[in-house]
Amino acid sequence: MINLSILLLIPLATALLVLICSTAAQIRMVALLGSVAQLGYSSLIMLDYMSQRAAGNKAQMLYESRHSWFSSLNIEYYVGADGISVAMIMLTAVVVMTGILISWNVEKMAKEFFFLIVLLSLGAYGFFISLDLFTMFFFLEVAVIPKFLLIGIWGSGKKEYSAMKLALMLMGGSALVLIGFLFLYFNTNTGSGAHTFDLLKIVQMHIPVAAQQFIFPLMFVGFGVFTAMFPFHTWAPDGHSSAPTAASMFLAGISMKLGGYGCLRVAAYLMPEAAHQYSWVIILLSTIAIIYGAFATLMQTDLKYINAYSSVSHCGFVIFGIGMLTKTAITGAVLQMVSHGLMTALFFAAIGMIYERTHTRQVAQLGGLLKAIPFIITVFVIAGLCSLGLPGLSGFVAEMTVFVGAWQHPDTFYRTATVLACASIVVTAVYILRAVGASGMGPVKNDEFLKFSDASWNEKLASVALLICILAIGIAPFWLNNLVSPDTQLIMDNITRVVGVN
């Protein structure tokens, strides 16, 4: 029998064990084992989930469990999972494990480092399985604070500035989310005049449209900050570029998805009328993010900035898919979350491996690396190809689902936005191939490069794990699609129920 709380207990136990370990070798081994155990349990959940669905279990959420937390305000610890949550849990488990592998050689304050990484993952798991808004907010906060320390202590470049900026902006975002949650709470009514944070109960109630119109923007912007929605994205480039590799992987791979998940699960699901009314704003902002992020990437010279801006563009697709309010587009948004999470983690991992050897991320100072470190550059190229949407890799599946879904919206404005979003794939190809060509190919820029050793076992293992996931989604997308699409259908049904078909 699956118990979702174990998902929280494993990281908690790992974190505590890390604290009592003494040597760096013990610490990282404990962290790795913990993350492997977590990946194992997540896989078990996924398999069990799929078999239960296949057996005809129609409950909206499986593995529900609840405990009263603060009963006078009806705050509960309430968790459960649907297909979307399961997909996000798997994503988190893979990224955390590979992140720990990549950070194998962290010597500086290893205990604190791995403790914080594990703590971050705890926040993410909790967030993805929460069905109580208060629980959800609690875990959202848990997933913010460690980032400040990770960047501030283990970062590079102007790390204090970046850490501060990232933490403040994300805090601002979560403050908006909190206000939104509270307003929502006070607009609920369980019949006896009491309010509730219970997500599944709220969706059954009808939140007054006037309230929705006020709350929705708060929440959408709040979560939007997390997912680096234009114009609240500027924490991302600085934050990513200063962060240590594992933190970058976590930030872009998981943290940005917290926002997308929140926009979908809370904002769009609980406030369908407002989602419908504001969808043009969402589309406008996300289209800007997609195009403008792509063009801004074109001008970057630092590999991490390239990937950070390209993440702004790619995460734009998540918001774009949600804003289109068609079932296919929303499914595409979820696929994009998973795909982008894996791909960007791989990308940051590759950049980290390059940086560790060359000590520079400036494209102009690199060149010909394919000859020196073929494995790492091959990984880098594959991540790039995934980013530009090559079929057979996960990016293609996600983007095409978003495009096909978006095109189902027959309005001219939405069509134009879709064409513009499609156009970004050309710009993506330009910046990816420029980065890949300039750093990996061409004559060997510096003879020092030839002395580098290629990927070590932990780096290889991390890359291969991520590659396998990317390929699995790219080659056999139907399993992920089948996993999430009944639940995106539910969300969509909820929207069409109140606003009709657009």
């Binding site: 900026k165 403040l168 902006m169 234009f230 114009p231 994205h233 500027t234 924490w235 403008y292 063009f295 801004a296 074109l298 001008m299 970057q300 801006y309 079932k327 296919t328 010909g368 394919l370 000859k371 190809l385 530009l388 949407g389 090559l390 079929p391 057979g392 293609f396 599946v397 095409m400 689902t401 495009f403 096909v404 879904g405 095109w407 189902q408 879709t418 064409v419 499609c422 156009a423 794939i425 050309v426 190809a429 330009v430 191939l433 420029r434 060509g437 990996g440 190919m441 061409g442 004559p443 060997v444 997308p477 139907f478 699609n481 699409s485």
Partner: protein, 655 residues
């Protein structure tokens, strides 16, 4: 009929070879990888030939028409009810024909490369990429779903990228690879949106259903497709956008700029990808959707005019290029233009489908002689170590086999009977003649120019200079060179494909395409008009004689001609400055006026606002922090001032 599992093996053998080589072979048995790749493609070829035989002569024909068969369809990604990407296999005359073309040319190239690429550092990698390409191309031609074709379309694009950039330490190769990918990606954007439009109106992505629904006249769908945007119907928009994708891959003007640069790749790659298979994908795509195109004459007119203008422009440019591979590249573009406009002159069904049949026929014959030309050029380059005409000349004695087969290919492409190109070109010209006299005129002019530039190439390589620079060439090679000192031919692995393709360039013209590959699957009666053939053949012969006069011996005549036609010559030599226009748009407009402002705006305005928020907060806090000084006297003063203030307020305002 072969079982489905064996048909699946056709594309899968090459991908297995790709996986084996790249995961295991590259490290463990690099020198065996070439043989492994060749064997896998040999398997695919044998299976394809069997399928072709079965399809054309045993099971394909039901009644009087060849049928479309879909022996396999796997639901791969379900977007919405009825809208899904299904990976499948579709057999019909054009896909079966393409199977043969792709596996045959690929086999020749694999075999040839055993000699040509021998000793290369990344020999195994080369073969793995070839396997990836062959897989993708076969998947493309077998597609039963328009999104499937788009997927493999992208995959051939990336294999082409990898192979053009094979010599990745050469900056020119890297930038050529990048250019090829980006230009075709730009065109693919059109393709993608075209797919979205067509699938939206037909409610499916499946080729058969889509074609059926989009060609139904009575269906209400037809009125929906008439919904217009900017003066053209949605159907026309969809088809034109799809065609843009095809034009990009097939290097049609003005999206052709990547093809000449793509010659940076190893020559066998040029023969396979950039002459015989990938570049005709655009033609194949139009042919695949031909029934729909046929219902939309406006779209077919665009296909026709783009085709004929590409054909002519490329032929003119080819006359002045000095890099032999670039001449061949432009010649490819010109011949594909031929296939395109031939499709544009045709309509679905019966006699009207002549152009369709001719186009497919030309695609087939062209694949043979153009692959031969490239492989022949490869032999020459292998020997002289240069792509430039000026380094060649008088090679006929040194390379008799190459010389002879190259001559056959030149005659074939020039359209001299009884070589293959003659037959297919005749059909195309006939179709053009019936459809549009202007097109016919331009086509026949192009045919004459083609004969001229091909023989300019031929004479410059094999004649022109009195005796070859044998010694110098060998000096360049060094003593350890593996070549026979007496002649410059490569090893047998390189000669056998030349001979096979040479024979085919004669033989395939006699295949009765009119009975096998037609627009509606039914046999098409074609007549051979002797009188019609006289003019094109005469013109081609004239072209050959001019080339003979100019280039057989070194002479000053070509230079004089160039001087007297100076403007045209310079325009052609500089490829009509089309590259420069693109460079101008990207480097001088997009980058400085879109990219840089976006990056600047982001750093200074958007982020500047965030920083300003922070600094304003800090500023305010700095302003008011003096209030919290911790000094009791100061607090007492505030307290006193506040008390006085309240007193005053209560006395004067509070009433």
């Amino acid at each position: 009929m072969l079982g489905t599992s064996l048909i699946i093996l056709i594309p899968f053998l090459p991908i297995i070879s790709f996986l084996l080589i790249s995961l295991v072979g590259r490290k463990n048995f690099p020198s065996f990888c070439g043989v492994l790749g060749t064997l896998s493609v040999l398997g695919s070829f044998v299976l394809s030939a069997t399928v072709a035989y079965d399809y054309f002569f045993v099971v394909g024909k039901v009644g009087d028409a060849y049928q479309q068969m879909v022996p396999l369809k796997i639901n791969w990604l379900q977007f919405a009810p009825n809208v899904s990407i299904d990976l499948g296999i579709m057999l019909d005359p054009i896909s079966v024909m393409m199977l043969v073309v792709v596996t045959l040319v690929s086999l020749m190239v694999h075999f040839y490369s055993l000699g040509y690429m021998k000793g290369e550092e990344r020999y195994a990698t080369f073969y793995s990429y070839l396997g990836l390409f062959t897989f993708s191309m076969l998947g493309l031609v077998l597609s039963s779903n328009i999104f499937q074709i788009y997927m493999f379309w992208e995959l051939v694009g990336v294999s082409s990228y990898l192979l053009i950039g094979y010599y990745f330490e050469k900056p020119s190769a890297v930038s050529a690879a990048k250019k090829a990918f980006i230009v075709t990606r730009f065109a693919d954007l059109g393709f993608l949106i075209g797919i979205l439009i067509l699938s939206y109106y037909s409610g499916t992505l499946d080729f058969q259903t889509m074609i059926q629904r989009l060609t139904m006249q009575t269906n209400e769908l037809h009125t929906i497709t008439a919904a217009s945007f900017m003066g053209a119907s949605a159907l026309a928009w969809g088809l034109v956008l799809v065609f843009i994708g095809g034009a990009g891959k097939s290097a049609m003007f003005p999206l052709h700029i990547w093809l000449p640069d793509a010659m940076e790749g190893p020559t066998p790659v040029s023969a396979l990808i950039h002459a015989a298979t990938m570049v005709v994908a655009g033609v194949f795509l139009v042919a695949r959707l031909f029934p729909v195109f046929s219902g939309c004459p406006a779209a077919l007119d665009i296909v026709m005019w783009v085709g004929v203008s590409s054909s002519l422009i490329a032929a003119i440019i080819a006359c002045t290029q000095t890099d032999i591979k670039r001449v061949l590249a432009y010649s490819t573009m010109s011949q594909i233009g031929y296939m395109m406009f031939s499709l544009g002159t045709a309509r679905y069904g019966g006699e009207n489908g002549l152009g369709y049949m001719a186009s497919m026929f030309h695609l087939f014959t062209h694949a043979m002689f153009k692959a031969l030309l490239f492989l022949g050029a490869g032999s020459v380059i292998h020997y002289v170590h240069s792509n430039e005409m000026k380094d060649m000349g008088g090679l006929r004695k040194l390379m008799p086999v190459t010389h002879f087969t190259f001559l056959i290919a030149c005659l074939a492409i020039a359209g001299i009977p009884p070589f293959a190109g003659f037959f297919s070109k005749e059909e195309i010209l006939q179709s053009a003649y019936h459809a549009n006299k202007v097109i016919f005129g331009l086509a026949i002019l192009t045919a004459a120019i083609t004969a001229f530039y091909m023989f300019r190439l031929y004479f410059n390589i094999f004649w022109n200079k009195p005796l070859p620079h044998k010694e110098s060439a060998h000096d360049a090679h060094g003593a350890a060179d593996a070549h026979d000192a007496h002649h410059g031919e490569g090893p047998a692995t390189m000669l056998i494909p030349l001979v096979i393709l040479g024979l085919l360039s004669v033989a395939v013209g006699f295949i009765p395409f009119n009975r096998l590959v037609t627009s509606d699957g039914k046999a098409l009666a074609t007549e051979f008009h002797m009188t019609f053939s006289i003019a094109p053949v005469l013109l081609a012969t004239l072209g050959i004689f001019i080339a003979l006069a100019f280039y057989k011996k070194e002479s000053a005549v070509p230079q004089k001609m160039a001087d007297s036609l100076s403007a045209l010559y310079r325009g052609s030599y500089n490829k009509f400055y089309i590259d420069e226009i693109y460079l101008f748009v990207t480097k001088k407009i997009l980058f400085p006026f879109v990219g840089r402002p976006a990056a600047w705006f982001d750093r200074n305005v958007v982020d500047g606002f965030m920083n300003m928020l922070a600094s304003v907060t800090a500023h305010i806090s700095a302003l008011i922090k003096g209030l919290q000084s911790g000094k009791v006297q100061q607090y007492a003063a505030y307290f006193f001032a506040g008390a006085v203030g309240f007193v005053l307020i209560f006395i004067y305002w509070w009433t």
